[in-house]
């Protein structure tokens, strides 16, 4: 079997490794268009603050890892796909054939249609090359404007602030991380940043960027005021890398449409990760989540189906994020915004920057938001994903959502089971 994987990010690498485990004989080729060994975009902020060297961002740390797994890495950019012929072509003109193809090309930063966006000194923080560029320019005291305080924006914010730059954040929505945090939580994060000397403008649009005087760039805001900048980092959302499929016949919406086997409408063609529009566990709809855990899940399931021994069915990924904004840790899971006809339990302690919000449908947890919680936070995912009926614990949580760990244990720990074992003759 000849497996071809396009894209050497987490989804592609995990798929390649899973394929190797399941099929020791197969030929596996991983094509990527970035010059570095496969690395993790998520690790870039830690490279920016020099917590890790470049090597620390690599997905696999052992030398020869891919050679030893007999996964062939190939540098190249895929330009087109011919599903009828089971071939792909690279922009060099080279053609490669496959028995099974995985598309794991990820996503790219979206560049908003703002006049001046093409000026030098405006960069996204998406690739290692971008990160090197930013690290060089975000010197202590440099004036840096961060466009967008979404999830990725807030992660970069941490790194930029720590680099000692004079940082200003501009976000067009009314709060920070609007797609992950409700009003109370998003505004607490904003207040936290303001308290630490980071200027944050919410409900503010950048109208244009032009060449500046004393500093190379000038940002014009819809409020009428202007900001001088040495560097502008843009983080205004991402879009799936689907450009090169035009005319191939593959079904595309926001991303590549896949079924629960990670298969596209084209025979023997699968998709995974940021490029794929896969099943969302909570909504039952198909959407692009663009997060690391989903890329990892997709990659594994796609590979199991490509290997062909068994059918692996995706049960849907939970949309979830964790964020560290200058030391304030926040997380959100699933339907954090709530469900129609559902109920919410909330604990709001703005003085201490603590917040916990649980969203229920009947006695099941559907979504959650937390601020300042670092211990056992994963059970929020566990409760959502296992769809445990909380029974009497639902009302206890409505009174005090902080008892979530007790509720989890009371409903999952096998007191009865083990008690049985104690009595059983085998002991």
């Amino acid at each position: 079997m000849n497996h071809l994987i396009i894209g050497a990010g987490p989804a592609g690498v995990i798929a390649a490794e899973t394929l190797r485990r399941l099929d020791p004989e197969a030929s596996i080729t991983l094509i990527g268009d970035e010059p570095e060994p496969p690395y993790s975009r998520m690790a870039l902020p830690y490279y920016l603050v020099r917590k890790i060297p470049e090597h620390g961002t690599y997905l696999r740390k052992t030398a020869n890892h891919f050679d030893r797994s007999r996964i062939q890495l190939k540098l190249g950019r895929v330009a087109a796909l011919q599903p009828e012929q089971h071939t792909i072509s690279l922009d060099s003109g080279e053609r490669l054939d496959y028995d099974r193809l995985l598309i794991a090309t990820g996503s790219h930063p979206f560049s908003p249609p703002i006049p001046g966006m093409d000026l030098p000194g405006i960069v996204p923080c998406w690739t290692l090359a971008n990160a090197r560029d930013i690290a060089g320019r975000a010197q202590p005291g440099a004036k840096v404007v961060l466009m967008g305080a979404g999830f990725i924006g807030c992660i970069i914010l941490e790194a930029l602030a720590r680099s000692g730059a004079d940082l200003t954040v501009v976000e067009m929505e009314d709060r920070m991380v609007p797609r992950m945090m409700n009003e109370k939580a998003g505004n607490l994060i904003k207040q936290w940043c303001l308290n630490r000397g980071v200027a944050v403008h919410t409900s503010t649009r950048i109208e244009a960027i032009e060449q500046g005087g004393r500093h190379p760039l000038r940002v014009l805001l819809d409020s009428g005021s202007t900001l001088e900048a040495d560097l502008i980092v843009s983080a205004t959302g991402v879009r799936s890398n689907i450009g090169f499929f035009d005319g191939s016949g593959i079904d595309i919406d926001q991303g590549i449409l896949i079924d629960r086997n990670m298969q596209t409408n084209c025979t023997d063609v699968y998709a995974a990760g940021d490029v794929a529009q896969g099943l969302d566990f909570s909504t039952g709809n198909y959407s692009v989540q663009a997060i690391q855990p989903t890329a990892a899940e997709h990659g594994q399931i796609a590979a199991r189906n490509m290997a062909g021994h068994t059918k692996a069915l995706h049960r849907g990924s939970i949309n979830m994020n964790v964020l560290d904004t200058l030391g304030l840790i926040s997380s959100s899971f699933g339907l954090w915004m709530g469900v129609d006809g559902g109920e919410a339990a909330e604990q709001y302690n703005p003085e201490r920057f603590q917040y916990l919000n649980l969203q229920f449908e009947e006695d099941r947890l559907m979504g959650a938001t937390s601020l300042g919680l670092t211990q056992h936070v994963g059970v929020l995912r566990g409760l959502i994903q296992s769809k445990i009926g909380l029974g009497k614990w639902k009302s206890k949580l409505m009174q005090d959502p902080n008892r979530v760990m007790e509720a989890y244990l009371a409903n999952t720990q096998a007191i009865g089971f083990n008690a049985e074992v104690l009595k059983s003759p085998s002991r």
Binding site: S40, I52, G56, Q375, G382, F417
Partner: protein, 154 residues
């Protein structure tokens, strides 16, 4: 034969010796807040529940890690955090559906149970055998894990 921690909450008296032993063994201090095993108290019912990683086969934490900082120890079967490699992104803390990987503010990395390399201090410290280190195919342990995993996919 791989071994694993078997926890029998009904035997736990809430003495917290396990938390003390764990934090001392792994962090060099007697501080339950830094323990990788945690005893939860059900005040209403007066019962206790020690809780830590089951070293589950799915290894959600390991697969979610973006920098290969969580690895399988072939000898013990535990999933271990390599602190030097961990960047502190915390994705494993939300990926683990059992909530047994936690972020440590002091070090900027995550911590989880690693079975103390095959000689878990908590089991040795437990005076009532509520925590024992047993063969991994022990029936009680299998059922404990099956129950904990519930309806989780994969």
């Amino acid at each position: 034969m791989l071994k694993a921690l078997q926890i029998e909450p009904e035997k736990c008296t809430g003495c917290l010796q396990c938390e003390m032993a764990c934090s001392y063994e792994n962090e060099g201090v007697f501080n339950p807040a830094k323990s990788r095993i945690k005893v939860f108290t059900f005040h209403d019912e007066g019962r206790f529940s020690p809780y830590t990683c089951t070293q589950c086969a799915e290894a959600w934490c390991l697969h979610a890690c973006p920098v290969e900082a969580i690895v399988l120890n072939d000898l013990t079967g535990s999933k271990e955090v390599i602190s030097d490699v961990c960047v502190g992104c915390k994705v494993c803390t939300i990926a683990c559906p059992f909530g047994t990987v936690n972020y440590n503010h002091d070090t900027g990395t995550v911590i989880k149970c690693d079975l103390c390399g095959g000689d878990p201090a908590c089991a040795k410290a437990c005076p009532t055998d509520a925590i024992t280190y047993v063969d991994a195919d022990h029936t009680g342990l299998q059922r404990m894990r099956a129950h904990a995993a519930l309806a989780l996919p994969q």
